[in-house]
Every structure is written in C-alpha cells, then in structure tokens.
Amino acid sequence: MLFRMILLIALTTGLQSAVSAGPLSYELNAEQVAPGTWVVQGKLEDFSSLNGGNIVNTGFIVTDDGVVVIDTGPSRRYGEALRKLISTLTDQPVRLVFNTHHHPDHFLGNQAFSDVGIQALPITREQIALHGNAFAENMYRLVGDWMRSTEVVLPSENASEPLIELGDHRIRLLRFTGHSGADLVLFDESTGVLFASDMVFYQRALTTPHTPGIPVWLGELERIRDITFSVLVPGHGPVVSDGRALDQMQAYLRWLDNTLTESARSGLTMTEVIALPVPQQFQEIALTKSEFSRSVAHLYPAYEARFF
C-alpha cells in the first residue's frame, strides 16, 4: 500500500511537470466555410491557462491578390500559429489584416503580422492605444506563459474604405458600435460570408464591458439581419448559415434589458440581481451564468440611476 501510494505521488508529480514543461501549442484548425474563406474557431470557454486565450474566432479570405486576415487572436504565439496555418493552405501572401475591435483576443496576435498593413476603425485604434497594455497585462495574469513575448502592436491604418476589392472578392466594411463602441463587420459580397465580429455571439454568452447600451446593440442587430448573408461567422461560437445566432442574441439581449429594468424598478440590489435565475432557454449557452453576473456589474448602475 505504502509503495503504491509513493508510486502514485511520483507519477502525479512527474505528470504535472511534464505538462507544465511541454511546449504550448494552439493546434489551430481552419474550417472552409465558402470558396477561399476559412474560419478558425475558438473554444466556448473563458480565458484560462489551459486554452491560452483561444476562445475567439479568427478568419481569412484567400484571394488571387493576397490574403485578408480577420482578427489576430489573443497572443503572439496565436498570431504566429495563424500565419503558419494560412501558409499551409495558400501561397498567396497576407495582404491586409483587420482588427474588428479593441478587445485583447482580437488584436494581441498583431506582432505576427506587423510587416503587413493592419486596419481598424479610428475609435478602435484609439481604444487599443489607451487600453491595450492594460489588456495585455490582464491576459498574462489570466493565461500565463501562452502570452510570452506578446506586446501591443497598434493597427497602422484606418479602416476607412467602404469597399475593398481584392482578386474576385468584394468585401464591404460595415461599422457598428453595439458590442464595444467600435465594431467592424466584414461582408464578402462575392461569397455571402458575413464576418460579424463580436456583434454576434452564438452558443457562448455575450460580453458587455464596453457596450454603449443594450438598446443600441439590439437596434444594430436589426441592421445586420437585413444583410442577405449565406454564412454568418460570429466572433465567438459556431458558424451558422441562417438567422439562429441573431435570434439567440436578440432574445438574450431583450431578456437582459428587461430583467435589469424590472429589477431596478423594484429596488433590487446588485447582489440580488446577480442571484436571479437565468431562463431555461439560455442555459444551453456556454458561460451564461458567469457572463450574466459580469453584465450586471457593467450595466446595472445605469439602470438603477433611472429609478431614483
């Protein structure tokens, strides 16, 4: 018995050190969703030292005139893995990179593309300049060694053209604000693929730290619904070819808006709101409970202020 225990301890310790000493690798896979169009789907999780922050969807469009990359991931290591993955699928050079908004999982891979023009909305560029380093520090805290050598590389150009034509792809740039204050959505008219960025989450609870307000977000989702897409790539969660991701977003945002309004009207404290049950229909969405709690922290004070 004693020997067995010692063996067990030795094995466990050995295993642990093997895991922590092993090379950290994202093992990225690209899924083709339309001609020349690829999506690298992240996990439906929160940032952790196990997933290295790979919780985000990135994508790229291979044209006859170079590759367009949509978001660069949470770390230098991710950005490098993404670029390597692209090079295994095409000989075309990376021509243009977009950061859809200023959240860390969408731009901290920029180092791997610093030789290419990186475009973002003007407000996104300001937000990254202002908060980028704090975000990067927080990512080191959350995911650890995966972040090694990651530094903020600011987007170098404004995404100011309404339409970009590369090869036989016509990519329309659409500006929204609902998720982060400046959200770039890309619609490839030639394939019908809509890269919805974090304006749309699907099967992974949406996050609200910089939303200008739920009503704004809801209104902009109506505009996105008017686009006749064949494939919708959410910022987080599986790719869809119909309106179900938009349905889920709108249902959840309406419930959130209504819950916060009614809670403030009846005088609930933040503690009481956080403890409220989340309806059954949203419980299949990953991280619903914890993201609801975060959203209460972000949004409830403004709702409370309306009922003084």
């Binding site: 005088g267 404290t269 933040m270 709690s293 972000h298 004070p301 409370e304 003084f308």
Partner: protein, 250 residues
C-alpha cells in the same frame, strides 16, 4: 499502521502552513490581527446566520457589490463592523441599526486584491457573530484614481443626493446615491476625501441608524437598506472628512 502514519504526516504537512493557530474558516493570513483590531479580545463565534454576499469575482475592483445580511440572528443588533482583511484600508463601514431597521444592507466597495470580506455583528447579548466570504479580484481598486479625479463634475455636484423608497412584501426599502469622490488617499497627489458619517433620522428627529464609512466604500456611494415600517418619513444626514454636511429627506 504505516498507512495511518503516512496519512497523518501528509495531513500535517498539508494543514500546517494555512491553519496553524487559526480557527478562521476563510484561512486568511491576517485573521488574528484583524480580529484584534476590530473586536479586541471580546468573545466571538463564527456564525452562518451572518451572511456576507459577494460576487464570484470582482469584475470592477472599484465597484464591487456586497450585501451584509444578519436578519436570521436573534436579539437586537448593536453594531455591525465590515472589513476586508487584505485591503490597504481594511475597515469599510460600521453600522449601528435601531430596532426599526432591518439588518440587511447593500453597498459597493473597492478591493485591492482577492480578500476575505467580513462582518462582525454584536448583539445586545454582548457576543460577536462573525460571517464572511472570500472575494476573488485582480486588484487595484484602492489605488485607482476615482473618476472624479479626471472630471470636475463632482466639484459642482458634491453631496447631491438621489433616493427612492421601494415597498417590500414586509416593510420597505430605501436606496440612495450621493455624489462624492470617496478618495482613498492612496493615489499620488489625491488626498483622502470621503464621507465619514451617515445618520438616518425619523420624522421626529430620532436617530434610526448610524453608519461610519471608510474610503473603501466606492465613489458616488449607492447604499440600500431596509426598514420595518415603511410609512414613516425619514431623512438622512451626511458628513465628510472635509467637514461638509449634507441633509436630505428620503
């Protein structure tokens, strides 16, 4: 026998660094010191009936919602002291509720790092009842400049007061918000500036409850408390450490 010895040794090794000479269910390294600071050598017990409700994680370390609930405790409550063990300023507030006040209060606080948040409740039996929860946080709440430090809005609105009464199934609830920077004094070149005293008064001018606040109470405090009799006209009086006094009907 060998097996038992091994378990005992393992158990000892595992338990020694954290629980040595401490009965604290939250295993806080500062428990004994904090206890001496706040309740001295008085007799006390850990008591599940004193609930300190905190979120799983301090999403915004400058505005963390907490609720202290001692409604299940029998006997009249004399005093409730609330503190965070690992904050640079540990004391958050002390509450002296009258009989007409339900011992259930919510507000937002600043935290500097993950810490035990505790409430010590003294009843008229002369014994302290202790509740607490561990609050996880990335930190920095006490050394972040207040929003007021970057925006002169507060200068012309200091002490502005909003409040509302909400009927409850039993009794009623007041929620109020007051404009105040609540500066901790821990940010370079921004002196300590915070509301020290809050007194809730009945229509006849008697004190119903008194609070002593410390700088870890969040900027522009929002405080929610419950009363047993909703139909009374109450007013509130505040004073900050700069000597400014504010009085308002609730």
């Amino acid at each position: 026998m060998i097996r038992h010895c091994l378990f005992m040794t393992l158990g000892l090794i595992l338990s020694m660094p954290v629980t040595a000479s401490s009965d604290d269910p939250l295993n806080s390294p500062l428990w004994n010191y904090m206890r001496e600071q706040f309740i001295g050598t008085d007799s006390y017990q850990f008591d599940d009936r004193v609930r300190v409700v905190v979120p799983e994680f301090a999403e915004d370390p400058t505005q963390v919602p907490i609720t202290v609930d001692a409604r299940e405790l029998a006997g009249q409550i004399e005093r409730i002291i609330v503190w965070a063990d690992l904050n640079p300023i540990q004391h958050i507030f002390t509450y002296y509720p009258h009989q007409a006040i339900v011992p259930h209060i919510s507000l937002r606080i600043k935290v500097q790092q993950g810490t035990a948040v505790r409430a010590a409740v003294l009843t008229d039996k002369g014994r302290w009842h202790l509740g607490g929860s561990y609050l996880d946080a990335a930190g920095g709440g006490c050394t972040t400049p207040s929003a007021a430090a970057a925006d002169p809005y507060w200068e012309s609105h200091l002490g502005e007061f909003q409040s509302r009464f909400f009927p409850r199934s039993e009794g009623g609830r007041y929620k109020f918000r007051v404009i105040h920077p609540m500066d901790t004094g821990l940010v370079n070149a921004i002196p300590e500036f915070y509301i020290e005293q809050v007194v809730i008064r009945s229509a006849s001018g008697n004190d119903l409850a008194r609070m002593e606040l410390s700088p870890p109470v969040s900027e522009n405090p929002v405080i929610t408390f419950d009363v047993r009799e909703p139909d009374k006209k109450h007013s509130i009086w505040l004073r900050d450490n700069g000597g400014n006094e504010f009085e308002q009907a609730l």
